[in-house]
């Protein structure tokens, strides 16, 4: 402060202390240093953010890519008529009486003859050999026999899933040391797996069932897929889109274009903004109380999930729609009104089309947000062993119990078998692909159609 008060008086006569523009005085240097420091902070902040992103993505990709591959074993199974159709009349009801447990010996003996054919030496019993296969193999075989009863008595070639431990061994997750105390697999069985792999009948391959299949129980993580819960998410998004978009757009057009400015509309506006910040779990409790306990809608149904997520998405859509309506210049409205259009014509013929790209972007981002939401789904019963049956029709798709992608991922991460953990990461990859795609579409729409004035 002192030199400021001194300099004005001294300036005209005395030579300036640092007159040259090329020579920076201490203050300028300090200010420039502060600026470059600030730039450094900014770069460091971005760097930390990027680093986190890279760590996150590499983590997800390394942990999750394994889920897209699965170990299979090729096997020719002799569908023995005396086991599968004891009466020999090919009656489907009689064939159905043989439960999946009855198919285990068939698979074991098929494996035994395969081993003899390939000339593999092993001390394992047929039963222990059969244990390297997934329990889903029996179900697969039974479904095949029931679908094709004419094939009984013939030898059919199958590609069965192997047990999750064998799969882990092929992926390097399970080693001979790590199974020292493991009861579900032995070192001898791993040796046997090595021999089968060398013979070329046991191999890793792309696993479409992970993307398309249903959830599986804790005993067969190798058979679990995210497909059914993906359908659940899809049906929920239909509900959200069909409800949130019309309601949200109608509400914002009214508030923005028609509603009088008074205390009541002010209160509504403030509350919409507040609603956008309400934690999503609150909507879950609301959904449980209103939709399930009061309205008696079915639990775990995507319809209820969609209704809950609609409540969550509405404020996002209303806020973004109002912002894009506001961005349309008043001259457009005035011109329309000036040539004799009614207020409604002005809005629907001129303002709304111009605001549409913004509305769409907001909707897509709202949907993406709803797609990744887990917390409210926990409360309306969408977590557990639920996504086990693909819905058989559109109405069933809305009403029959189903899970959703994030809820399925959460469920997998809780289960005991480490193979489920890998699938949880794989599910995250699929979910992220959806989210990135939706956000990219939103960005492209905005870039292409948005008009600026």
């Amino acid at each position: 402060m002192t030199d400021i008060s001194q300099t004005p008086g001294a300036a005209p006569t005395a030579k300036p202390k640092s007159g040259s523009l090329f020579e920076k005085d201490a203050r300028t240097k300090r200010r420039n240093a502060a600026e470059s420091r600030f730039k450094m902070y900014g770069i460091a902040a971005i760097g930390i953010g990027l680093l986190m992103l890279i760590v996150l993505v590499t983590n997800i990709v390394t942990a999750g890519t394994g889920a897209f591959q699965q170990t299979y074993l090729e096997l020719d199974v002799d569908l023995k008529a005396d086991k599968l159709d004891k009466k020999g009349n090919r009656n489907i009801e009689d064939i159905k009486k043989v439960s999946t447990f009855g198919y285990a010996p068939l698979i074991a003996s098929a494996l035994e003859s395969e081993v003899a054919k390939l000339g593999i030496q092993t001390d394992l019993s047929a039963k222990d050999m059969g244990k390297i296969l997934s329990k889903a193999a029996q179900a697969e075989l039974r479904n095949y026999v029931i679908a094709n009863p004419d094939e009984i008595g013939k030898t059919v070639s199958f590609r069965f899933l192997t047990n999750s431990r064998v799969d882990g061994y092929m992926k390097g997750r399970v080693t001979r040391d790590s199974i020292a105390n493991d009861k579900s697999i032995s070192v001898e069985q791993l040796d046997f797996v090595d021999q089968l792999r060398d013979a070329g009948v046991l191999y890793k391959a792309f696993n479409p069932d992970f993307i398309l299949g249903a959830d599986a129980s804790d005993q067969r993580p190798e058979a679990a897929g995210i497909g059914v819960s993906m359908l659940g998410s899809l049906f929920m998004m239909f509900v959200v889109l069909a409800l949130a978009l019309p309601i949200g757009v109608a509400a914002s057009i009214y508030l923005e274009e028609f509603a009088p400015q008074n205390r009541l509309t002010d209160i509504i506006e403030v509350n919409i903004s507040n609603l956008a910040a309400v934690p999503s779990i609150v909507f879950g409790i609301l959904g449980l109380a209103v939709f399930i306990n009061y309205m008696h809608l079915p639990t775990s149904a995507p319809l209820v999930g969609g209704l809950v997520l609609t409540l969550m998405t509405l404020p996002t859509i209303i806020i973004s729609t109002r912002a894009s309506l506001k961005a349309v210049p008043p001259s457009i409205r005035d011109a329309a009104l000036g040539v004799g259009a009614s207020k409604m014509q002005a809005v629907f013929h001129h303002v709304l089309p111009l605001a549409a790209p913004g509305i769409l972007t907001g909707t897509i981002i709202g949907l993406a947000q709803a797609l990744g939401e887990t917390a409210p789904l926990l409360l309306i019963g969408m977590v557990g062993f639920i996504a086990s049956n693909p819905p058989d029709g559109i109405v069933a798709g809305f009403l029959s119990p189903n899970s959703a992608m994030p809820a399925q991922i959460y469920e997998w991460s809780k289960r005991a078998d480490p193979a489920f953990y890998e699938r949880a990461w794989g599910g995250i990859i699929i979910l992220l692909i959806f989210l990135v795609t939706m956000n990219t579409i939103a960005v492209i729409l905005r870039r292409r159609f948005e008009r600026r004035w």
Binding site: D182, L243, H296, S300, F385, I386, S388, F398
Partner: protein, 351 residues
């Protein structure tokens, strides 16, 4: 716009008609997350082997499941509640108030609770007394009740290594916690004779009240950060042990058996936990698992009785069945359970 209008109104109609037309064709189950793996194995096999759709099994805990079970009779309530403890009197009363009177109790087997630590760490041979001395809020030293001074396992038992005590135990919302308190902490407390000291210090009008107070004092755990409540699942306990190699966690037997590459199990009173030692009753820390069936729903919900019977069938819940393979200790009196299910024997006598 007309498409949006159309779909919106179609959906509104669907939503309204859903209430009336929700003829449910699959069994709905909810409850204990300990029973969930077993129930899901059964549900999957049931869906594969019967013409009924696969039952839906939700998790959420024993208490939450029983609460939903007791909400009433009707298609929008669940048919079966899984529980890792027996139903309480209070819950039966709440059920009756809502019209759920006939409840079939099915005991499916036993579940072992094990103590496990990091695979590369020290191995332990515990007794209930050790756990009581390590975790109780107050213990008796030289005849005086004092705040628990033990810092390392060597303080608890000179035979143990001087590893800091760090226990990850199930939180109070878990059914496992009750078993841990009853069968480990309280057992150790009584065995050591500390129970008498608490009884002497207890305040109460009657002997019964005093005993209750003493029991409560026994199972009061220290709050100085040595014992950590885990409210999540066993996966969280495993993650905690992964980051704190000195930690010792409480797990279900089935969870441990799926993670033998990361965990080593401690013996309890010199018994190694296994399905065999639990079935024989040698291993002390185990508990029965149940599910409860709403009798009023049998015949209304297709497949409900078949599901219950299939669950306790020999090929499923027997000693060689898939449930035992996963870690369930099968009930030695399974035949009786099968009979009870077949006859639809309800709780509280009669049938």
């Amino acid at each position: 716009m007309s498409f949006v209008k159309l779909s919106a109104s179609a959906l509104a109609i669907a939503a309204v008609s859903a209430t009336a037309a929700a003829a449910r064709d699959q069994v709905q189950v909810a409850g204990s997350s300990t029973v969930l793996p077993y129930a899901s194995i059964v549900a999957e096999a049931f869906g594969e082997n019967f013409d009924f759709p696969t039952p839906v099994v939700e998790s959420g805990g024993s208490s939450a499941g029983l609460k939903r079970f007791c909400e009433g009779v009707g298609e929008n309530t669940i048919d079966v509640a899984n529980a890792s403890r027996a139903i309480r009197e209070k819950e039966i009363k709440a059920c009756a108030e809502n019209g759920v009177t006939d409840i079939i109790e099915v005991q499916i087997g036993y579940d072992g609770i094990v103590f496990a630590s990091d695979i590369n760490g020290n191995s332990f041979e515990f007794t209930p007394e050790d756990w009581y001395k390590a975790l109780s809020a107050q213990i008796v030293v030289d005849g005086q009740l004092v705040d628990n001074p033990n810092k390392t396992w060597a303080d608890v038992n000179p035979a143990f290594p001087a590893q800091p005590i760090a226990a990850f135990i199930p939180g109070t919302k878990h059914g496992t916690r009750e078993v841990f308190e009853d069968k480990v902490i309280l057992a150790g407390c009584e065995h050591l004779g500390d129970f008498d000291a608490y009884l002497a210090a207890a305040e109460g009008d009657s002997d019964k009240a005093k005993k209750k107070a003493a029991e409560k004092a026994c199972i009061a755990l220290r709050t100085d950060g040595v014992s950590v409540d885990i409210d999540g699942d066993y996966t969280e306990t495993l993650a905690r042990i992964d980051s704190n190699k000195d930690g010792i966690g409480v797990f279900g037997l089935a969870f441990y058996e799926n993670n033998t590459d990361k965990l080593q199990v401690a013996t309890m009173s010199d018994v190694v936990p296994s399905t065999e030692s639990i079935a024989s009753g040698e291993y002390p820390v185990s508990r029965p698992l149940f599910f409860y069936v709403k009798k009023a729903h049998i015949g209304v919900i297709p497949g409900l009785k078949e599901y219950a019977e299939f669950f306790v069938a020999d090929e499923i819940a027997g000693p060689d069945g898939p449930l035992a393979e996963y870690g369930l200790v099968s009930d030695p009196e399974l035949v009786k359970v099968q009979e009870a299910v077949a006859n639809e024997t309800v709780l509280g006598g009669g049938s």
